[in-house]
């Protein structure tokens, strides 16, 4: 499903964020990416939706070499990926409902079907009764769940989340992880970056450990 071969990423004017990273994530697999701050977790995740492009090596998602995709092809790649950003990137000028509706507007879904999907996604993360609220009125955990609802509303086969439990208390974090597990159970491929060791140990899933831009065995 996702395959990195010998991927390096150097930012202009900076050091090498990733060095010769290779791994393959099978369809339906659930893996954590871990490592200290600055180890390259975010960079690794950003290469998958081609927010960043590798300086060397290739990133293949669903059979497509995403590092070589033209700009015009990127929207179609991203619509098939569920992305949860480290800073969530919620829009505070509209309701919870409209935040989740945003990705459906791009693909031109029939309005009834779109509304149904938005409610289903909100229901899945337990925010259905808050659909008229502004995201600013939500707690940190709720905002994170909203970001997840928006990521899955297009029913992607792959879900990529960057530090989805950062700054959350243990209970909220567990609730988030439970949501991810439920997606895993219906066959969604998951890649989640976290530095929360306790969380990783509790779930006993595959771990990609990054250190200084390199993947530890």
């Amino acid at each position: 499903m996702i395959s990195f071969s010998d991927v390096s990423k150097r930012y202009p004017g900076g050091g090498e964020a990733l060095r010769g990273v290779s791994f393959t994530l099978e369809s339906g697999e659930f893996a954590f990416v871990t490592g200290r701050s600055g180890a390259g977790k975010s960079t690794l995740l950003k290469l998958i939706p081609a927010i960043e492009r590798p300086t060397a090596g290739s990133v293949v998602v669903n059979g497509q070499n995403v590092g070589a995709l033209k700009r015009a092809a990127l929207p179609y790649l991203r619509r098939n990926l569920g992305l949860v950003f480290q800073d969530q990137k919620l829009l505070y000028d509209r309701t919870v409902y409209d935040n989740v509706m945003l990705p459906l507007a791009f693909s031109g879904q029939p309005p009834k079907e779109a509304a149904r999907r938005v409610r289903a996604a909100l229901d899945k993360v337990g925010l259905l009764e808050r659909e008229r609220a502004n995201p600013i009125a939500l707690s940190g955990g709720e905002q994170q769940r909203l970001a997840i609802a928006r990521a899955v509303v297009n029913r992607p086969a792959v879900l990529v989340a960057d530090e989805p439990t950062a700054n959350l208390d243990a209970e909220s974090a567990a609730r988030i992880l439970d949501i991810f597990v439920s997606f895993h159970q219906v066959g969604v491929t998951l890649l989640i970056a976290t530095h929360d060791q306790a969380l990783i140990e509790r779930y006993g899933k595959r771990v990609l450990r990054l250190s200084d831009g390199k993947l530890a065995a």
């Binding site: 927010i51 929207p75 991203r78 992305l83 950003f85 990137k89 829009l91 507007a105 791009f106 031109g108």
Partner: protein, 294 residues
């Protein structure tokens, strides 16, 4: 096809939403565009009216030859008939001229007040060559003939008016071009500000898989709508301005016994103004979007 239509309807709705969200700013923008448009449109309307007046009086290349009271009509007529430059010759007796004057607008009372006929006999000559120079040369020759009191090139002032109107049109074209540029600049800047205030939404949309076309579409509609609103407002300003002017024109025309009124733009012209305004708005949006959306 349905999806495509829905996307456009959706973009239009989003553009309307943005206009609504910034009601006063949108209104001010439309007003700026409207005022800028009303100037050349008003100038155009006035010139069109002026041309109408000029046309009403521009006849053929016609020269009036007024005779002295003691002139020998037969001899003069013979000389004029032999002149190769003359196409047509018509004699207007002083009685006929007075009759004609009596029928013409606003002069009936004046004629009625006359004790005796002050008009001379005249020949109305139509010349072969209608150019101003040829007519003047012909008039100068005729002036030297015996029995001729005065020669008048009737179309001269109409030609002068025409020339004036041509200069007016040129100045108007320059003004229109300048204001059109200004209009594009206004929309350009409005859309630029819109893009800046929506940076976040645009960024998130790009990350979540919006195509460039999807992101740009509402901005195009925004420019278009603003142009439309500005065009409509400009016409309204023009209509109000002409109505005000017409009050004065009516009073003035009445003193000449005329019912002359300034006419508004024709339906096609009014549509053209609105269409042009919408196009310029769209153009401003296009320039702004291609510069600031990447």
């Amino acid at each position: 096809m349905m999806a495509w239509l829905r996307q456009h309807r959706d973009a239009l709705a989003r553009a309307f939403g943005k206009l609504r969200a910034q009601r006063s700013a949108s209104l001010l923008n439309a007003l700026v565009i409207g005022v800028a448009l009303s100037l050349p449109a008003g100038g155009y309307a006035l010139l069109a009216n002026l041309q109408l007046v000029a046309q009403r009086f521009t006849l053929d290349p016609q020269v009036s030859v007024f005779l002295k009271a003691e002139a020998k009509r037969g001899e003069l007529e013979g000389r004029l008939r032999r002149d190769a430059r003359v196409v047509q010759l018509r004699f207007v007796s002083r009685e006929d001229a007075l009759q004609e004057l009596r029928r013409s607008e606003g002069l009936a009372e004046v004629v009625a007040a006359l004790e005796r006929n002050p008009l001379p006999d005249a020949f109305v000559v139509r010349a072969r060559d209608g150019s101003a120079a040829a007519l003047e040369a012909f008039a100068a020759d005729v002036r030297t003939l015996p029995g001729v009191a005065q020669v008048q090139v009737d179309s001269a002032w109409a030609q002068r008016l025409g020339a004036l109107a041509r200069i007016g049109r040129l100045a108007l074209a320059a003004l229109a071009a300048l204001l059109a540029t200004g209009l594009v600049a206004v929309t350009f800047n409005t859309i630029r500000l819109q893009i800046l205030t929506q940076r976040e939404e645009i960024e998130v949309s790009q990350l979540l898989g919006a195509t460039d076309a999807f992101i740009r579409r509402p901005f195009f509609y925004l420019g278009l709508l603003q142009g439309l609103a500005g065009g409509a407002l400009g016409l309204a300003i023009l209509l109000a301005g002409l109505a005000t002017l017409n009050q004065g024109v009516r009073d003035l025309a009445q003193t000449y016994g005329s019912s002359f009124q300034l006419a508004f733009l024709s339906g096609t012209e009014a549509l053209a103004v609105i269409g042009l305004s919408a196009f310029l708005g769209w153009l401003g949006a296009l320039l702004s979007v291609s510069k600031y959306l990447r």
